[in-house]
């Protein structure tokens, strides 16, 4: 018998290493389930889950929906672009209206930092943060760390470089928390304008030369340039960015060891990573997607089951 220390998954910051390990162990069993001929178990058959996405998403939303369906939950989907939010309804009102229809769990993505934390203070349902602005994206960090554990055996003691737009990335922040809790060393690398000013206070190393970062690390997690969040220009051009910070197969081949290449998607091929690197043997990008379903099943199962 085992349970998480929290009722909600709002961020990696407020869960423990034990929680993460429990999620991984549970995800192992779900990974076996989703590779069966019949990929469905009836655990959550009396649970209703609302996927509330105030921001666009393909992978995360699909992954959550598949995870929910493989656990036999009832699923309702909501996206802000087609809803009353456009008519001026507040977040709390929208969610309360959805909960009035007897929903047990809410999976939410929102452009504002702290939106799921705000909600968790006002409603009874379990909340899973599927990304809040530039803050956290806990399930992505969990599946990234899970994929590292799967490929390298463990996360403890490994060196992971996060390369790209750190400033606007919720994946970066959640990854830093998760990897550090599991005992890994983390480095961030990118143009100085895309690195938060006091990032080193989190205990991560900062490197401006991508070549050096690659030589240092066991795993390179490459992030997308989030143009949609950039109100001003942070670098002269995408072409220049890819020249100085893009990753290609030639660079990977020139290293002394084989490093693992990760990317949370969506990939801008030819910008942060070239096709030959993204599709190489060293890349675990599609494993990340598969593991995403298993990890999200584990999170939903553990949160829904903790009724105490």
């Amino acid at each position: 018998m085992s349970t998480l220390s929290q009722r909600h998954l709002l961020g990696i910051k407020n869960i423990t290493r034990k929680d993460i390990e429990l999620i991984f162990e549970t995800a192992d069993t779900f990974k076996e389930v989703i590779n069966r001929p019949i990929k469905k178990v009836p655990s959550l058959r009396d649970v209703t889950i609302a996927n509330i996405f105030f921001e666009n998403s393909t992978r995360t939303r699909l992954s959550f929906e598949l995870a929910e369906k493989r656990l036999s939950a009832d699923v309702v989907n909501f996206s802000a672009s087609t809803s009353s939010v456009k008519k001026g309804e507040t977040l709390l009102d929208t969610v309360n209206n959805i909960l009035a229809m007897k929903v047990d769990m809410v999976v939410m993505r929102h452009a504002s930092v702290g939106a799921p934390h705000f909600l968790s203070k006002h409603i009874k349902a379990n909340i899973v943060n599927a990304g809040d602005g530039t803050h956290e994206h806990p399930t992505q960090a969990l599946l990234d760390a899970y994929s590292i554990r799967e490929r390298l055996g463990s996360v403890e003691g490994k060196k992971i470089a996060i390369i790209g737009d750190i400033l606007h990335s919720r994946v970066a922040l959640s990854n830093i928390f998760a990897l550090q809790k599991l005992g890994a060393k983390v480095m961030v690398c990118g143009p100085p304008t895309l690195l938060p000013k006091f990032i080193s206070s989190l205990g991560v190393e900062v490197e401006l030369d991508v070549k050096k970062a690659l030589e240092w690390c066991d795993v390179a997690n490459v992030l997308r340039i989030q143009l949609e969040r950039q109100q001003i220009k942070y670098f002269p051009s995408l072409r220049e960015y890819s020249l100085y910070f893009g990753i290609n197969k030639k660079m990977l081949d020139s290293l002394k060891k084989q490093i693992v290449v990760m990317h949370p998607g969506p990939i801008n091929r030819g910008v942060e990573i070239t096709s030959d690197a993204a599709d190489s043997q060293q890349s675990v990008i599609l494993d990340q997607v598969e593991n995403g379903v298993a990890v999200r099943m584990a999170v939903l199962y553990l949160l829904a089951g903790a009724t105490a």
């Binding site: 018998m1 085992s2 349970t3 162990e25 549970t26 192992d28 069993t29 076996e32 389930v33 069966r36 001929p37 019949i38 469905k40 178990v41 009836p42 655990s43 959550l44 009396d46 649970v47 656990l71 199962y301 553990l302 829904a304 089951g305 903790a306 009724t307 105490a308």
Partner: protein, 180 residues
């Protein structure tokens, strides 16, 4: 704490031999037979029986582990979710004669969950249940075992404690104890 010994090593060995002979009697050649041990504790017993059958009949019967956690009917009705174990079935169940093996038969709810979990791997021709300890008059569901090691009269306030060498204990012993 009151403790009563139900099986010691010798008695367990004799009982397992008897259960194996009964299996041989019913399955003769074991051509179409597979064994499924129920996680977490039935798997040790399933392995002991498989080894013994190999000694007695010379046949190596395929063995798998079945975890029932995600098919239990008490999810969200207890304080914390049950922890899952590994399911490992490397053969097709479709059309097979399945022998489910568990250590203790109590309410029957685990067996119900197991039948449900098993269907995900195909439709068996026949399913039988083998248990070492059958706690009489405690069933919540209409389920009974086909092969029984020992019938034991128990109270709800009691628990069957299984200690096997395969689990790291010094001796094979099975106790009936009072819960605190």
């Amino acid at each position: 704490m009151q403790k009563k010994l139900i099986f010691d090593s010798d008695l367990l060995d004799i009982t397992l031999s008897r259960l194996c002979e009964q299996l041989i009697e019913n399955h003769s050649t074991f051509d179409n037979c597979v064994i499924l041990g129920l996680q977490p504790r039935g798997i040790y017993l399933a392995e002991m029986i498989q080894k013994k059958l190999k000694k007695l009949s010379g046949k190596e019967i395929p063995i798998g582990y079945l975890d029932t956690t995600f098919h239990r009917d008490d999810f969200r009705r207890r304080d914390t979710p049950a922890k899952a174990s590994e399911t490992k079935i490397s053969f097709v169940i479709e059309g097979k004669d399945v022998v489910l093996i568990d250590d203790v038969l109590y309410t029957g709810r685990t067996v119900r969950a197991a039948l449900d979990a098993m269907i995900a791997f195909g439709r068996p021709a026949k399913v039988e249940l083998l248990v070492l300890v059958d706690r009489t008059n405690t069933r919540d569901l209409p389920i009974s075992a086909d092969y029984i090691g020992k019938l034991v009269n128990t109270l709800d306030s009691q628990r069957v404690l299984v200690e096997l060498q395969a689990q790291g204990y010094k001796q094979n012993r099975i106790w009936l104890i009072d819960k605190e």
